[in-house]
Amino acid sequence: MKNKKKKIALSKLNTESIATIENISNDLKNKTRFSEMGIIPGKSLKLIQRYSIHGPICIKIMGSTIMIRKETADQIFVSEIYDE
């Protein structure tokens, strides 16, 4: 069974975890590019690589790998999906 955890910032997600995008802060600049890439509420993603605590992360979304910075990932909120 799939369950959802409480909402966290994408930057707090663990590597290899899968989550659904809940909402994106209105302060996020360059929102067009993010939405084109499929970073919109309802889409699920997987965090596949983290450079360092403050460094960029790589996520897999809609079949492509995308790099975003930690500061940006702070503004995207997700809920982790985990199998029980």
Partner: protein, 683 residues
Amino acid sequence: MSKKPTIALIGNPNSGKTAVFNQLTGLAQKVSNYPGVTVEKHVGKIKISGKDYNITDYPGIYGIVPNSLDEKIVCEEILNWCTKKDSSPDLIVCVLDANNISRNLYLATQILEIGIPTIFALNMIDLLQESNKNIDVSLLKEKLNVHDVVTCCALNSKGLIDLTQSISQFFNNPSKNRSEISILDEKTKLSIKELTNLLQKKGMSENQSQLYAINIVSNSNSLEIFENSERSKIKEIANNSILKLEEIHSSTKSLNSIIRYQWLEKLFDKYKILINLNKTTKKSFTEKLDKYLTHPILGTGIFLSLLFTIFWALFRFSEYPMNLVDSMMGALKKTVAQIMPDGLLEDLMVNGILEGIGGIVIFIPQILILMLSLKFLEDSGYMARASFLMDRFMSKIGLNGGSVLPLMSGYACAIPGIMATRTIDDWKERLITILILPLTSCTARLPVYVIMITAFVDEPVNQTLLFMLMYLLGTITAIIVAKILSIFLKEKANPSFIMELPSYKKPILKTLLIDAYSKTKSFVVDAGKIIFAISIVLWVLASFPKDVNGNDLPIKDSYVGFIGQTIEPIIEPMGFDWKIGIGLITSFAARETFVSTMSTIYGIDEEDEKGLKENLSEDYSLLISISIMVFYVYAAQCMSTFAIVKKETNTWKWAIVMIIYMTLLAYIGSTLVFQIGSSMGYT
């Protein structure tokens, strides 16, 4: 029909669109710039069963709303197709990455809504099939009402047979059937009615007006592609529509993406367009490889070793062809000198023209090797990983990982590097990258380093160390200048950098060769023209005036000698004399002229054929040689770079700022080296 049918190639970045273009056209393509900007326009010719077609490859886009300069060019062009019907192509070929079909359909469905006949080319289908998946082509064609959907594999020309057949069938039997789909519900359509009416008055069809209207209310960037005079009116009406839309949608921000992706998701849920035969989800090859290549420590190690290998190859493999070119030019000069009767014309031919040509062609091996390596890294998908690894560091100096590729290209030549910065979305980051780029030691400095180092240092280990020191000096200074600029430049920065890491692909040799060929050609032609002209001017300045009997005077008494002696007091603090002064003057057009100038100076001055190195080591010291190299690391001595900075930034301001700061750095740097060195007793 006298006009050749036109085909437009549109697609996402990394969809393999350019590979498709190269396979279709081969060398039958022309690269030019869009008017006023340095976004490359690739136009090619293809012949299918005896008929000629013109095909244009547009820069990759994710949607029809621009985020960067090259995207803006494409988006403006697409808008033109809608408002000025006669400018639209006869057929659009939309290239989609089959492995990433739903994301690629985001753009492709918007292209369909424009209503120009479209063929979908599902590229890299072989990779999808390898992972036990497939796409139901006929179902996709039917549900989206596309003119045709074909699969292709741009890795080899055979993989494009279906595409070329489909193109030829379309033109033999042009269907009036326009593939129009509409994704908006009636309520939404009603809310944007006022805006769609306005757009229809500008010449758009109903479907086109809905497409643009929903984009305009979703993001303010969309307005950028409209004429200045139209913007305020569109904005005013768009604001009314936004108010109406907010009654039915929670927010209009990114509304286009949300509606479109929901629509696509429903389509894929309802029909089995994407066939997945896998029981469990397996990690793709790219994902497995990325575990290592994007690993913060391991990945960085691999990146640095790769860089080292490229530079090693650059020196190692260019040595033999460079010597070959050199001896061939030498032989040519001798032959010409023997054939032609002695006199002024022979002198001009051998010491002016051939000398100049030799100075240009000598760089071809190195530029080829570097361009091939960089293109290999880019096409294999690795370059984006390097950007990811470097982003943390780059962000500290006010740049992003996207600046890594342009900066690395700068080690070959600043010109393609500066041109490559147009992929950087953010203006401030782009400007800083442009301004520091000429500090990376380009190949034009290489001959100066080579001649200076080999003339004064014998030990190979010390030679290598000194080489690396010069590259390091330029690189470190670039980092410091970037940091300073990021603090002082008032332009606004955009912190939300986002970048796609494409899946790993085997680069196509043909594409690599075409790219390396066209870049090398543009160097030989563009930079070559200047170097060639300078060589002749220099020959005149060095050969005249003659004495009363028409014989050569010593170079010291020629025009160029006079100029060199005039500036001697200014360059003296750096340890330079009038001969080096002449070299510096001619180098302001292009650095590489230094070596040919020095050989011309010695060549004309002395009858016996002494090597340039021997001459230099007799006249100068190691300290002066280092001082010269430091000057060349810093000085802005390239007319072409100056011109391209003006063109890219659209103002003389930044080109002048660049020249001033670099010249100051060079003068101060060299003076410090020479003065400190002499006071320590190294002369």
